[in-house]
Symmetry: C2
Subunit: 277 residues, 2 copies
């Protein structure tokens, strides 16, 4: 029953899931968007043949992108999300009652609509504090007012297709400009194992722009990389000083993140310690 | 060039590697043993179609099985390894100069010989302190003298084929009997994500036998599970009290393990905290 859907990594390895049926298939101006019903992962978003997120394991990625920043940033009232049309990052952000407004800028409306229709634990939430802008995050970041956000999330694909411009120094400078002086920029920064070169290049680019750059690590099962990374950038954030009240609220509902996971997630492997200094 | 070699997980997901050539292929009395030359992973041991270990990423598994025990056990003079014919666990154990003797009991001589011939960073090391016994680890553990080891490692496959008897309470009782009162038993305990049921059953069985059971987590890329686990069992080990002198020696050569990784690796995800209490 069903068929194998495989994603290949440079023709050297591949990860596949048995698919029961296709829930959605479309071609937007930007990319091919599919939601397939995987026997193991449940509804799974696939963009241009790359596995993006699934009902079964999306919590690892979204909790680890969002909660390290949201539990340590001095203020979290005004939040910007670049990308994130699947809704997971907005959901995690909106768990915090101190959040006054979340602006989410997603380039591809088809992603927003397909996830809302077909991914029950995902899909952009209904919340008066959330404003969804369909548009180019790079333009948006270049034009928005200086110092207008406490936290900015970059929740994009790896640097192919429309996401390519999201992985460079110029875009990171825009994001820094948008932040308040004690604001935090948090981004997914690929796998330090499967995509080591991309990971290192991204962290080095972030270091050119932000005075303090720290990376945490955790699982992201759908990416078959065995370890993913998320990086916090700031002027001088104490990334281990978790706000206990915020953390407790998250821990009531989170599946992966908690204060112990947070404290351990920033340890660098011996190899990365040598490479990143 | 080459062909895809896939491992399937319950017919729901699969992980594949492009293989250049087969370096070794044989059928022992116990299992089918292959070493293939993977473009991504280099020489890779495959047993009965299951990916076991590879030159590219074996250090994650072997460092995390061995070094948490070897840097925290009060004494490490006498070591037993059940399984481990590929040689990685013995290599990590023998890094410590306090080790006087390592007995390794591997059921399948073909694994020992094939890895020695075809896996350069693996293969059982030449060391006067190492005694290799080709035989059944379950029998060995049942017969060896009480209290004769400071540290016992279980480095077997998941519970299929000849490894099945290594995952049960009776075998764990044998291992406990072999240990000195402050001895440590360390075992791989599968993936808490891909193989959650097996992981939980194994940890619960270990808890029936040992007063103190703690699990650490880390990557094991070849298993496409996104997180693997290794469990330390003892009467009353302080698993966070790392011996600095031993740790420094390991850190000179290790690729993954170091003191910061160790301190962070024991954090339980929020879900596992609830499940395991």
């Amino acid at each position: 029953m069903g068929y194998w859907y495989d994603e290949e990594y440079e023709g050297k390895t591949r990860y596949g899931m048995k698919v029961r049926s296709v829930l959605f298939e479309g071609r937007s101006p930007f990319q091919k968007v599919e939601i397939v019903d995987s026997i193991h992962y449940g509804p799974t978003l696939v963009i241009d043949g790359v596995f993006m997120t699934s009902e079964r394991e999306e919590h690892f990625y979204h909790e680890m992108l969002v909660q390290p920043a949201m539990t340590t940033a001095p203020r979290i009232g005004r939040v910007l999300i670049v990308g994130g049309g699947d809704g997971g990052t907005a959901r995690e952000t909106l768990r915090h009652e101190e959040v006054e407004s979340v602006t989410l800028v997603e380039i591809d409306e088809m992603v927003v609509e397909a996830c809302r229709a077909h991914m029950p634990t995902l899909g952009l939430p209904k919340d008066d504090r959330l404003e969804v802008v369909i548009g180019d995050g790079i333009d948006y970041a270049a034009r928005a007012a200086e110092g207008s956000y406490d936290v900015v999330f970059l929740d994009g694909c790896d640097p192919v297709g429309p996401s390519e411009g999201l992985f460079n120094v110029e875009f990171y400078r825009s994001c820094r400009r948008l932040l308040t002086p004690d604001g935090v920029f948090a981004a997914q920064t690929a796998s330090p194992i499967l995509l080591e070169d991309l990971f290192l290049a991204t962290v080095r680019a972030l270091r050119e722009v932000f005075p303090k750059v720290v990376t945490c690590f955790g699982p992201a099962p759908l990416y078959a990389s065995d370890q993913w990374s998320w990086t916090l950038c700031s002027n001088d954030l104490d990334h281990l000083a978790v706000d206990d009240a915020r953390a407790r609220r998250v821990e009531e509902v989170s599946k992966y993140w908690n204060r112990e996971i947070h404290a351990g997630a920033f340890a660098l492997s011996n190899e990365l310690k040598k490479t990143l200094g």
